[in-house]
Every structure is written in structure tokens, then in C-alpha cells.
Symmetry: C2
Subunit: 202 residues, 2 copies
């Protein structure tokens, strides 16, 4: 009953994360109601995602038509310390950390960690690529590796495992500071957070 | 910080109904991780939505490269009764009704009704186009117009108003039957539904 282009659109969109079949269909009708130029613009915007490259060092996405080097803007910036590396799960975590403008080092994007505490093949390859970088460029030891992994139960298990994988690759393997978030109230902080805040008082 | 194509994608997608900025960004990274052929396929699929035409009679979307008539498959089907017309809000409502295979007539898609019980300009134009069709093709009176509008408080107000707009245009102006849905239990039916079910017993 649905015209072919709508059915095809709905099938493809419903397969994207976080979009259900109902929403996919509604999106199709919404786009049609917006007219041909909106549709063409959206199609072009999606197509342009194929210009995105993946940094060969930290695996962040970047576009840099000027250079032929396969490095993102952080990894190709001589001002950034190569010997301090933050290991993050997602590109969006990297962006959040960059926004603070307080991190002098570089990154490694691991990809979302599973809850079973086991690294997948891609994650193992990326950790190995970091270890090779440290061997090659930092004479075998980084100054610091920050495991910027969420302080959740699963995150803690994963961080522990990654820390073992990276043993010896850095003088210090650290994690992000814990405590009461800005704007948070002591009264409503959970026990664990408050405990960490006490330990990390400054 | 975000590469241009990702930012542009995220901005456009976050403007679509039901997609937030966070999900838009995650979609971008997801698509990039899926590779160029998936991206190209999605862009093409969206672009093909521009082939969709709107039926000049019922305003359903259709693609029919074979004919030059500006009519959808229902409106161009000589087996469908032209004198029984269901007024629906959304194209998806039309699809739901078609799936029953029990409606012999045609449709008019009004577009989503507002909660203030006032028709917008497009909706008024569409109702007028229906009235003109009835004058022209049905000698001024349809056999039946079914107001297939949700039986909610707002739906009832809207149906009442549309019914007044269409007064005289049909021998009968009806609404969908009310009662206990298939698989529903009397014990859990609300009072109103049960009342309707009693009145409409058959």
C-alpha cells in the first residue's frame, strides 16, 4: 500500500539506532511535506558524511582536505603533548573533554565498551596501536594514560581491564577525578560520590 | 571541534521531528562507522522521496510513473465507490484502514488536527476540494462521509466541527464504531468505552 520510496525509506531508517518503524514512517511523510529542496539538502548532507576520515592514531573522525597526513587536528597539533593520552569510549566523550580546554594531551577512541568486560577485536587492535605508538614515539613509556571511562560499575570493570592491558606503557595510569558535580548539593549526593569527594578534597 | 559534515548532519537531523541533538550526533557517528556504501544508499533513498506525488483528490502520496493522471491507486480504482468517503487525519490512518480491506470507498487526508479545534488554511482547502468533488461528480451529495477521527476529547470536538463544515454534502455523516477492542477485557475497559459498547451491541 505504501509507495515504494516511502517503504524503502522507512525500512532503512527503522534500522538506524533509536528510530522505530513508526517514527521512520512519520519522518518520510514529514520530509515529503517539506518539499523537494529539503529532501535534496538532507540527501546531500548524508552523502557528505562519506568525506569523513578516521584518524590513524586516535581514530577520531576528521576532514582535512589540505593535508595528506591521515591525522586529525589534535594528533597533528605539535602543541599537544604526545606523552599524555586519554582513552575514551566515544567520539562524543572526546568532544566533551576538548570543550574544557584543560587537556594538553592526545586521545585514543576505543569504541563503546561491552558490559561483559571483554574487549572486542577492534578495541584490542586500537589498544595495540596505542602500545606501538608508545614504543615507537615515546621510547616505550608514556607519561600518563588517563582512562576517561564512566565511573559506573561496568565502567570500573572495563577500566580495570584496560589498565591491565596497558600495564608498563605509562608511568601513571589515572582515571578522571570523582566528587560532587558543579551545582550539585551535598544533601542529595549519594554515599559513594560523597565518599570520593571526601577522599579527593583539595 | 566536530568536522563540518558531522555538524551539518547533526543540525539538520536534530531539526527533524522526534530526533534530538544527541541522537543526531550519535546517528552521524553510527553512519560513518557503517561505511561509504551504507551512507550512499541512505542518501539515495532519501533523495528518491522526491519522486512522491500527492493525489489531487485525496492528498495521499503515491508514485505512479505509468499514468499521467494525478491520482493515487485508490482514487483511480474504478472498483472503489466514489460516494463513500472517509476523512482521515494522517496518511498512516489511511493505511491502517486499507489494511482491514473492509472499506469500499475513497479518502480525504486532512492533515493532523490541532487541539484548539480550528482548521488551518490547508485543511479548509482540502475540505473545499472534497465539497467541489461532491458537487461535480456526485450531483451535490455523497452517500456517506465517515469521519475517521480518533475518539478522543479533541478528536470529538474536531469531528463535530468538520461535520458542520460538511453539512448537506452527504446523506449520512458517520464516525467509526466504538466498543471494546478485540482481545480487550470487560474488567479493564473504562466506563466510557463500556457504555459505548453497550449502546453499539450487535
Amino acid at each position: 500500500m505504501l509507495p515504494d520510496p516511502i517503504r524503502k525509506f522507512a525500512d532503512l531508517f527503522a534500522a538506524l539506532p533509536g528510530i522505530g518503524p513508526r517514527q521512520a514512517r512519520r519522518l518520510a511523510f514529514y520530509l515529503i511535506s517539506q518539499g523537494k529542496s529539503v529532501i535534496a539538502e538532507l540527501a546531500k548532507t548524508i552523502y557528505e558524511l562519506s568525506e569523513i576520515k578516521s584518524c590513524s592514531q586516535c581514530f577520531a573522525s576528521y576532514t582535512n582536505p589540505k593535508t595528506t597526513a591521515a591525522l586529525c587536528s589534535v594528533c597533528s597539533d605539535p602543541q599537544r603533548r604526545p606523552d599524555v593520552i586519554a582513552v575514551v569510549e566515544k567520539e562524543t566523550d572526546l568532544i566533551s573533554l576538548e570543550k574544557t580546554k584543560k587537556f594538553p594531551g592526545r586521545y585514543l577512541i576505543l569504541g563503546e565498551l561491552k558490559k561483559d568486560g571483554i574487549l572486542d577485536a577492534v578495541q584490542k587492535l586500537r589498544l595495540n596501536s596505542l602500545k606501538n605508538f608508545i614504543k615507537r614515539e615515546l621510547k616505550g613509556q608514556a607519561e600518563e594514560i588517563v582512562l576517561a571511562i564512566n565511573p559506573t560499575t561496568y565502567g570500573n570493570i572495563n577500566a580495570e581491564m584496560i589498565s591491565q592491558e596497558l600495564r608498563g606503557a605509562a608511568k601513571n595510569i589515572t582515571r578522571l577525578g570523582r566528587g560532587i558535580p558543579t551545582g550539585g548539593e551535598i544533601e542529595f549526593a549519594d554515599e559513594d560520590t560523597l565518599g570520593e569527594a571526601l577522599q579527593n578534597r583539595s
